[in-house]
């Protein structure tokens, strides 16, 4: 270690315990004196820098932390409370909306529904191919699930089933009449404002508002549509 290095080290850190530094320090009187001077200056520096901290600083820091913690917990509780309230209200809204969806018949555009009915009849080929004699008890049971009741005969039913038209469930019946097969679709949960006629290259029919929801009657011959309509109107009643 040269003299310059020694003086630099002694200035920066006079208490340095590096053996080379200690050896150099003991080399002569000047080095000892220089190191001692630096130690004295360091002590002075230390004394000046060691200012007194406010007496109650520790207590105030802890108090401030506890208040902040309390505030955070309070805020968290409030947020949780509001979050729970929000979740509950959303859940309630969903339940109400769903119940309304189930209970209240939806009023939609009749032309659109008429199109959906025709499409359904074309797609559900099975219904027109089945040749069964569905007992009245089965018809009564299915009608009862929607709150409907037959007060009199509507003719021979060759098919009975649930169906979905335009996103809503209904009852799909096929009547075997003298003029041929007639499809009757009861849509108790789909209301329409006005009747609409159905017609394409194969079928004719009518979609009309009912006491509950709507009814569609489709057949190849217009006359059988009208006859079936009269029978249905006379004998089908909705009690709910």
């Amino acid at each position: 270690m040269d003299d310059l290095e020694f003086r630099k080290t002694a200035t920066i850190d006079p208490d340095n315990q590096d053996p080379e530094f200690l050896k150099k320090k003991q080399q002569n009187q000047y080095n000892r004196h220089f190191t001692h001077e630096q130690q004295r200056f360091n002590q002075k520096l230390q004394d000046t820098l060691t200012i007194a901290a406010p007496e109650n600083l520790t207590d105030r820091v802890i108090l401030s932390q506890q208040l902040s913690q309390h505030k955070r917990e309070h805020l968290k509780k409030r947020q949780k409370k509001w979050r729970n309230r929000f979740i509950r209200s959303v859940a309630a809204s969903v339940i109400i909306a769903f119940s309304a969806y189930l209970l209240i018949p939806v009023t939609i555009n009749s032309a659109q529904l008429a199109q959906d009915v025709i499409t359904h009849v074309h797609e559900d080929t099975h219904a027109l191919n089945v040749r069964m004699d569905v007992p009245k008890s089965s018809i009564d049971t299915m009608l009862a699930s929607y709150g409907g009741k037959l007060e009199g005969p509507i003719g021979q039913v060759s098919f009975l089933g649930h169906c979905i038209v335009g996103g809503h469930t209904g009852i799909h019946l096929v009547l075997n009449t003298a003029q041929g097969l007639v499809t009757v679709i009861l849509l108790p949960t789909q209301s329409i404002n006005q009747p609409s006629s159905l017609a394409d290259s194969q079928f004719n029919g009518v979609l009309y508002p009912s006491q509950k929801g709507s009814i569609a009657i489709i057949a190849e011959h217009t006359k059988s549509v009208e006859d079936t309509r009269q029978k249905i109107n006379q004998n089908l009643h909705w009690i709910i």
Partner: protein, 191 residues
């Protein structure tokens, strides 16, 4: 010292929440008691204002409380707290830059709040330290108040070791020069 007993249920290890919060609080209070005075000194010599130093210490510990779980090694607590305090001080300057005020509305506080029982030489040294450029003052504070070795200061300030040594040397050199320059005014003050 700060570890809490953990419960093991099946494959899950659960720390009891009550014990955990008590332990966390104890751990925090131990840190405050051990380091608040040193942090206050460090803050004061950084910002040269007692009230701001007080705020800096409060803010530092609030941040430390929020991030306490990140402190894994208690031996590093002091460096960790000093790093937080330095960041807080830097934020103070960022905020200051944003808050533009009319200079005439600002009451300029005395740089040095000296007590009457301090010797003239101590008062001069006090002022000389505050006059040091922050680049020189900060390593000096870390060495003298923090008790850090030069290598540790280099790590804390993210500086080269030679740079730290140079700054420490120059800081002391400037203080000595300032003190010898101030010797004449001592007579003016005392007479």
């Amino acid at each position: 010292m700060f570890n809490t007993k953990k419960l093991t249920i099946g494959k899950k290890t659960i720390e009891p929440p009550v014990y955990e919060s008590v332990s966390r609080q104890n751990r925090f209070e131990t840190l405050v008691k051990a380091y608040s005075n040193d942090l206050y000194r460090f803050a004061y010599w950084l910002c040269s204002n007692h009230s701001i130093a007080d705020d800096l210490v409060q803010e530092t510990f609030l941040r430390a409380w929020k991030a306490l779980d990140k402190l894994e090694d208690e031996k590093k607590a002091k460096s960790w707290l000093i790093t937080i305090l330095r960041r807080e001080n830097a934020r103070r300057f960022e905020r200051k830059r944003l808050d533009l005020v009319n200079i005439e509305d600002v009451v300029v506080e005395d740089k040095v709040n000296l007590s009457p029982d301090q010797s003239i030489e101590t008062q001069q040294l006090h002022q000389a330290i505050l006059n040091l450029d922050i680049d020189y003052r900060e390593p000096l504070l870390l060495q003298t108040i923090g008790g850090y070795k030069t290598s540790e200061i280099a790590q804390l300030l993210k500086l080269n070791l030679n740079t730290v040594n140079t700054r420490l040397f120059r800081a002391r050199d400037q203080l000595k020069r300032q003190l010898s320059k101030d010797r004449l005014p001592i007579h003016r003050i005392t007479t």
